[in-house]
Amino acid sequence: VIVVAALLITAVAPAAADPCAFDSNSASQAPTGHDAEAAALYRQIGDEEREAGDSAAATFAYREALRRSPRDQRARSALARLCVDARRTRGANSAADTAADSLGLRFDEGLRLMERGDRKGAIAAFEAVRSSTSDPSAALLEGICEYERGHDRRARTLLLEAKMEPEIAGTAQFFLGIIALRAGDSAEASSLLASARALDPRLATNASDVLRLARRDGRLVLSAFTEGGFDSNVELTPDGTITGGGSADGYGLAAIALFARPYGISGPYFRANAQYREQARITAYNLADVAGALGVRASRDGGSVVAEYAYDFIALGQSPFLSAHRLLGGGRLPLGAFSFAATYFARFESFLSAGISGYSGLRHDVEAQSDWRPGRRSTVLVGYHLGRDATKDAALGYLEHGPLAGFRLGLDRPIRFGVEGRLTLRRYGAVDPDLGVERADRYVDGAVSGELDLSEHWTVRIVGTARRALSNIADFQYTKVTASVGLVYAVGVL
């Protein structure tokens, strides 16, 4: 039976898809018999398949009907109609083929340029395609390029156009969600990302990752943090100078924070936070910190400028330690895979204990940083830092500067790693009256961190830091190592 069926299949196979083939070859297609009932059944199925839009199945069914009943005029007519339709479609396709080929080449060129990282060139190619025909795929890819260049408004227009095509609606919604998140509209971002995830399961993991961020962000964000850790060298002065013999201690820390930006990512914002750190042994270094800030941020197409006033009050060992006012200005400019940022602040510091009041004064700090994203989940950063501490006691003031570099990596699962290092060269402004020399220090700092998102709101954080302080005064050389494990809870309330 299988052999017979196979032979039958071979006999009909070459003409199966072409509705015109039966007419031209009818003489050679000898009917296998006369079975009007079976022919009617095939014809009926042919009619249903034609109505369902499957012309290949309809063609096969009509042809099978005619094989069983060559005089079945209804099947013959239906097959002829399919033939005419097919020829008409082929004719229309042929006329459009040349133009389509040209557009196809431009589309392929856009893809190649996009893969090479030439977003501007890719945009020009996709734009050329879209100027000739409505092409949601070109709109999608052009939108993604514009998003990557930081042109969020233009990207949004293109992605909304692409969203109209069901096959790519999920991807378009995904990028619209990211843009909404970048604009600080976490509610809109959550809705778009959830829709993207529902429309296209292939986006599920990525959409969930970003959705997690969206649900921790918003116009009003509450967060809490608790940490336990170890510090090999607790007793340092405000400028980081060693005071004891390297007293090591463990500690526990709890912090809460509130962040509000009622008008979204652009506009005024307010931040308040408080923390308490209790040392296991060296209770004189128990620390309580209350801080608040008012600022305003202007953002557009991924870039931003910010101005902020902040106040910070710290008590150490149950005694007032520091009262500081800070003015800060900064900005960030994205350029393709790169991003450039700079901040400056002036901090008016008043140390409240008699023994360290000489450290009071005005501290200036400026830092420039460039980020490069070679891949979707990795970031390389380099920067340079310059600081000047104009203290009341001139011997405690200094000028420092030095480079910094770092690398951040996000894995497929909600795990992130970071490593950062910096070198600081510091020269004090006056001869130390006690030591009779002008002090010069070098600090080599390193930090590694790992974060694991346990859920949409909870994250475990592990941090390790190390410092090697070198000085032209041997007594000021030391090593400091810290390690901590913390748990963060963050929720976007609005």
Binding site: A5, Y42, E49, A52, A194, R197, L211
Partner: protein, 212 residues
Amino acid sequence: VKRAALLTLLLAVPARAQSSADDHLLAGAQYFHQERYPEALVEFRVADRMAPAGGASWYVASTLVKLKRPEEAIIVFARAEASAPADRDALLDYYHALACYDAKLYGCADRLLGGLGGQAGPRIAAQAQKIRTDLALLIAATPSTGTVDWYHNRGANTEKAGQLALAVSYYDEALRLSSLRTDGYRRMEASAALRRLQPQRKAQGATSEKGP
């Protein structure tokens, strides 16, 4: 998957009792094996018409999955469950799950894939596990109101078109999604639609539903 489907189909065919329908079933299986799905569909449908309770509707539905016509496949799978429940097996459930997946009925897809167990063979079991892993995040996530609305719209449209099995599937998914939301958005509405449709579907009879 392709080889397993072929083997199952070819092995299943000789066991049939009705000779004429069996010929078409066998021809359909051969076409299916050769990945000539339009031809396979026609032959399976002829077999189905000749012997409506002969189980060919399972193969019609599986071929519709191959032809990327998932909603029609779901309708035919529902008909097959009613007309030839004894012919159901793990491989056909796998195709049914793919139809649900393609129609964005993720709860249905996960339920069917989860029920395959070890009967499906190692390759299909591995494939099913991979799909279930992809689905895990999807089916546990809290849906947006827009997502719930989309399923209600599909339910209403298919109900209007007389495709009650499909409408039930969409409302069923809408109900599942509403249950994931703390506000139970449109949950009562989905329950009411299912209460309304289930008796209608039974009264209408599995064979008369609009579809392939």
